[in-house]
């Protein structure tokens, strides 16, 4: 494991997130997000969220065409990492998903990026890459079948599932 690379990645993720959060906040004030469940176009609600373990949400959400982790996403992933450190015999699959508003093939690649974005963050909190595999579903497995911005925001996600 190349610690330098990981630290560098974390730094980039943090910096980019800060920049984006700033933009997102500005946007929300004008677009008054759908029933308070979205910030910018990232889902912030809990409707579809399940628990990986007690108090540990299983998924994080992304903005359209983005792979950057939000502040809330990073908090969720830190909880997942803490739980994984405590349960060192458990391996996970991080499933990456996209919404239906993109071509199938690009979305497969995007889902893979999102899953790796979550995986990289878990790794920076000490989880070995051997314990985390990634699986992209692209737009093939939406959780919400609606054709509207809120539904799409729930579908742009990465979900951490137990592999054993």
């Amino acid at each position: 494991m190349n610690l330098n690379k990981i630290l560098k990645n974390t730094f980039i993720i943090l910096v980019v997130s800060l920049v984006l959060t700033a933009c997102a906040t500005k946007k929300t004030s004008t677009s008054s997000s759908v029933s308070g469940q979205m910030q910018g176009d990232t889902y912030t609600g809990t409707d579809t969220v399940k628990e990986l373990a007690k108090g540990v949400p299983d998924r994080v959400f992304f903005a359209t065409n983005e792979i950057v982790l939000t502040t809330a996403s990073r908090e969720t992933l830190r909880k997942q990492a803490a739980w994984l450190r405590k349960n060192s015999d458990i391996n996970v699959v991080v499933e990456g998903h996209a919404d239906e508003r993109g071509t199938r093939e690009y979305n497969l690649a995007l889902g893979e990026r999102r899953a790796n974005s979550a995986k990289d963050y878990l790794m920076t909190y000490g989880i070995s890459s051997d314990r985390i595999s990634v699986l992209s579903y692209g737009k093939e497995r939406p959780v919400d079948s609606g054709s509207n911005p809120l539904s799409w925001s729930k579908n742009r996600r990465s979900v951490t599932v137990k592999a054993n």
């Binding site: 508003r101 199938r104 699986l135 497995r141």
Partner: protein, 446 residues
């Protein structure tokens, strides 16, 4: 079964070139050519034999109905109502009374004859120019009776070619993904059918997710993405034998496969650690070559028909755009510069155009542009549609379209559609189930 050897084609008479009827297919055809397709003549003995073998009351009429339907679907021809025909099939095939056909405004006439000889199906047909009062073409062929639908398609291809000057696309098949079940948990199967929707067959059972099948230019092989054992990998399937194998067994996801024009290589994306690049695999020696190398997403590669270039989709500029490079990965050039996002570039079999999907202001478009990116033309707009595939003559595109669901998330459907390069003749392609990811084969005969 090898298709090409089943047909013994013979030319009855030398085809003379007259300055006869011509159909211009380069522009939208708002006045389809009126054509009369006479039922093919059939003698009593042949009729009885085919009825016994194929359970078809009158094979002559059945075959002419296929031709009629094909011509109508092309949008270039207007097959006339048979009830208006004044001449019987047998006499018409010998010597049409052109005045009679002229009277019902037919400009072209197709006649023919079906016979049962030595357990085989023999078909002859003739194409006549009604106004000039001349025979334009006469052909005959013999095949096994079970090939009777293909006979109808081959006749259509010959008629189309004679009247438009370009090869047809009727004796072809479509491989696609059959879809069933709720949107959140779709069951997807590999399926294949004739171009006109008949002879539908499922090639997988639906136990694992399958996506994006593509025909080899040799027609017997298909490459596609399967999630077998939850490992998304590119597979190769021989549709004649049913034999399947992994070709993209890399340490990560392989996807977006297509054949090279000679059918010897598969080009695909390989995703690892959040980065997708383009690779090729030689099917003979299994040598893998990396073609693109960039931290962005590179996917949806498609070769030019001469194999010298590759068009692909990349977000290296920050957003999805279309690029062209040499087949060795050198000399990468972005070609899409319009507003919006561009994806799924597919090189036309004629070489001059690239078809694509475009997303702009919440709408999806199927369009075409020249290979240098100029002359962008959007053919159709919808809530969601993508994945164009060219007919083998480069005149028609088939793609899939998904519907918007209602406020309860119900009413989802996915259907195949086709549209002429001219932007005219847009229509749904009937399938037994919902359908997506169509890929058009090349001509089975010739």
């Amino acid at each position: 079964m090898l298709f090409r050897y089943l047909f013994i084609l013979l030319i009855l008479l030398p085809i003379k070139v007259f300055a006869l009827i011509e159909v211009d297919i380069t522009r939208g055809n708002l006045n389809p050519l009126p054509v009369a397709v006479s039922p093919l003549d059939i003698d009593k003995n042949s009729k009885d034999n085919f009825k016994r073998i194929l359970k078809k009351e009158n094979l002559g009429s059945e075959i002419s109905a296929i031709v009629e339907n094909n011509l109508k679907q092309s949008g270039l021809f207007n097959p006339l109502n048979k009830e208006a025909f004044l001449q019987e099939p047998d006499i018409a095939n010998l010597k049409p009374r052109f005045e009679d056909w002229n009277l019902i405004k037919a400009q072209a006439l197709v006649t023919g004859k079906v016979t049962f000889i030595d357990e085989k199906l023999r078909v002859e047909f003739r194409l006549w120019d009604v106004l000039a009062g001349k025979e334009m073409m006469a052909l005959a062929f013999t095949t096994v009776p079970s090939n009777w639908r293909r006979v109808g398609h081959i006749i259509t291809d010959k008629v189309y070619e004679r009247l438009t000057g370009e090869k047809g696309y009727f004796d072809t098949r479509i491989i696609y993904i059959s879809e069933e079940g709720p949107k959140t948990d779709r069951i997807k199967k590999l399926a294949i059918m004739d171009q006109d929707g008949f002879n539908n067959k499922f090639l997988t059972l639906g136990n694992e997710l399958v996506l994006t099948p593509r025909f080899s230019p040799t027609n017997q092989m298909v490459t596609y993405l399967s999630y077998f054992r939850n490992l998304p990998r590119v597979y190769l399937l021989d549709i004649e034998t049913g034999k399947q194998e992994v070709v993209g067994d890399f340490p990560g996801m392989t996807f977006a496969p297509r054949f090279s024009p000679d059918g010897k290589k598969i080009i695909m994306s390989f995703a690892k650690d959040g980065n997708s690049d383009i690779y090729t695999m030689d099917l003979e020696n299994r040598i893998v070559e990396r073609i693109s190398n960039h931290p962005s997403i590179d996917t949806s590669p498609s070769y030019s028909p001469d194999g010298k270039y590759i068009t692909f989709n990349s977000d290296r500029s920050g957003y999805q755009q279309i690029y062209v490079m040499n087949s060795n990965g050198k000399n990468i050039k972005r070609i899409s510069f319009g507003n919006g996002l561009y994806g799924t570039p597919v090189w036309s079999p004629r070489g001059d155009l690239i078809a694509f999907t475009k997303l702009h202001k919440g709408k999806f478009y199927i369009g075409v542009m020249r290979t240098d990116g100029t002359g962008e033309r959007l053919l159709t707009e919808n809530f969601y549609q993508e994945a164009p595939s060219w007919s083998p003559n480069g005149r028609v595109l088939i793609f899939y379209r998904e519907s918007k669901t209602n406020s309860k998330g119900e009413g989802f459907s996915a259907k195949l559609w086709s549209i002429d390069l001219t932007g005219y003749n847009e229509k749904m392609v009937e399938t037994e189930t919902d359908a997506s990811d169509p890929s058009w084969s090349s001509l089975l005969s010739n």
